[in-house]
Symmetry: C2
Subunit: 291 residues, 2 copies
């Protein structure tokens, strides 16, 4: 197996190479004056490869690089291509809400499949339902439950009576998985979107949340508005400490929003570069690759 590192995943690829003792190929990347991406593989690709590329902003450039990596490796003889996208852009464009809308996640999955990807590995994708758009490509979605659980077990002095909270009902499985792994209870708040203004409101059917400490888990945070709202609601219900695990942490604006509400622990994965404590997904990835 050879690892081909995307332009933005070099450190992670080195880590994986060391851990699995697999050959590492770091292509030469540059951007021309006119904005076009150039890349050149550092060595001939082997038959079996794994390409690692996170698709955060500028996502269209990172996508183009990924398409070029796959296409080039395929042309030069690779037969079995695995792709790991720690951040999968366009994941939230997963269905037609208004008629005739583009379903961008479908477009990206189609292109990856048609270029010849055999196995796509994603990390805590917004909506696993989108995988139905792929016809032949195998897809595995990692939820980094062990890494997150270990982090909290190491960094929190008293785990007893902590409640795991999902900020909406749709994503309650994330809370459930982590709660089971950590031996804790879980619940969810309710998020409703105003049909006309589009504003989000967070409420709860539970009259009280009994814990003084909670861990909110969510997949993506961009501005932080709805998670700040969820946190305020928990405060009103008597919660004194709020910790956060957000898989994909998109902006420093969001960090400011959370820090205003709580001085708890805030962690994310390495899927998007940032200033939040980041946990590696390498153990979770290796588990998938060793199956």
């Amino acid at each position: 197996m050879q690892i081909i590192s995307g332009s933005n995943s070099i450190e992670f690829s080195k880590e994986l190479s060391k851990k699995m003792n697999w050959e590492l190929s770091i292509p030469n990347y540059k951007i021309f004056n006119d904005g076009e991406s150039y890349l050149r593989l550092s060595k001939p690709p082997t038959e079996e490869i794994i390409i690692i590329q996170s698709l955060y902003y500028p996502q269209d450039t990172h996508l183009m690089q990924l398409y070029n990596l796959i296409s080039t490796a395929k042309r030069l003889g690779s037969k079995n291509i695995t792709v790991y996208t720690p951040y999968f852009s366009y994941a939230r464009s997963d269905k037609e809400i208004l008629q005739y809308e583009a379903i961008s996640a479908r477009t990206v999955l189609h292109i990856l499949e048609m270029l010849g990807v055999n196995h796509l590995i994603t990390l805590d994708i917004h909506n696993p339902q989108i995988f139905k758009f792929a016809k032949t490509m195998k897809i595995t979605n990692i939820y980094p439950i062990k890494s997150v659980s270990n982090y909290f077990k190491t960094h929190l002095s008293n785990l007893k009576n902590i409640l795991i909270v999902s900020p909406d009902q749709g994503a309650i499985q994330r809370a459930e998985m982590l709660a089971n792994e950590m031996g804790l209870k879980f619940t969810s708040l309710e998020k409703t979107r105003h049909p006309i203004t589009g504003n989000v409101q967070v409420t709860t059917k539970h009259t009280k949340v009994s814990s003084e400490t909670v861990i909110i888990v969510d997949d993506i945070i961009s501005t932080g508005t709805s998670l700040a709202q969820a946190s305020s609601l928990l405060r009103i219900m008597g919660v004194s400490t709020i910790h956060y695990f957000i898989t994909h942490f998109l902006s420093s604006e969001a960090l400011d929003a959370l820090k205003e509400i709580s001085d708890g622990i805030i962690i994310s994965t390495h899927s998007v570069p940032g200033i939040v404590n980041q946990i590696s997904t390498i153990d979770d990835l290796c588990e998938v690759l060793s199956r």
Copy 2:
């Protein structure tokens, strides 16, 4: 036939709709806070459609929009899809110069073909050899010879003794086509690239260029350095007036470089928005579409 306008080709699409009396669909485009593109068709696509999208900077975003337009139209029932890309990005990445390089033009052509494009129309592509990468898709490359010829005939008072010049030998066919259409003579300079520094030098085997007025024709200008060099050489050979037709005019920096050398006419097509006089390719496109 229905015309679906790319985000950057709305005026041209309106012009085409009027001229051909075809239905026009202008999708709703926006860019989300995180940089992702959104689009929604304005009406159901018909069985037969033409999508128009120029692929200049930010080319990866314009490519993603194009992929989404094709994919959405196909999903909603379009069966015969023509795409016109006045500017085709990555056209210069047309072969491996160093081993293991990505051939980006090949990647883009593959994706368009696999998404279901039946007919791709390009405008004065850098190297038509790249079309061999498409297996089933029909491809037509427009050279806007009539529009350019008409422009010069209208704007130059004395056409006699004008020489058409290609700045390198590889592209001499462009000069030949225009010369034939205008009833003029043509020649080419020679461009050599230093194997180590990569610097471009323009020379000529001809001891003299007999005309006092020339028209330089080229496909792309980015910084303007090599065309300025070609122009200086012609000056030394006694040319007093230099006009330019450059199909794809990428930067204002290039305009400055040319204006320093000559006060002749400078024209381009509408393929990239800019400050140079632009001629429309609508007649050339309609001719292809009417075949």
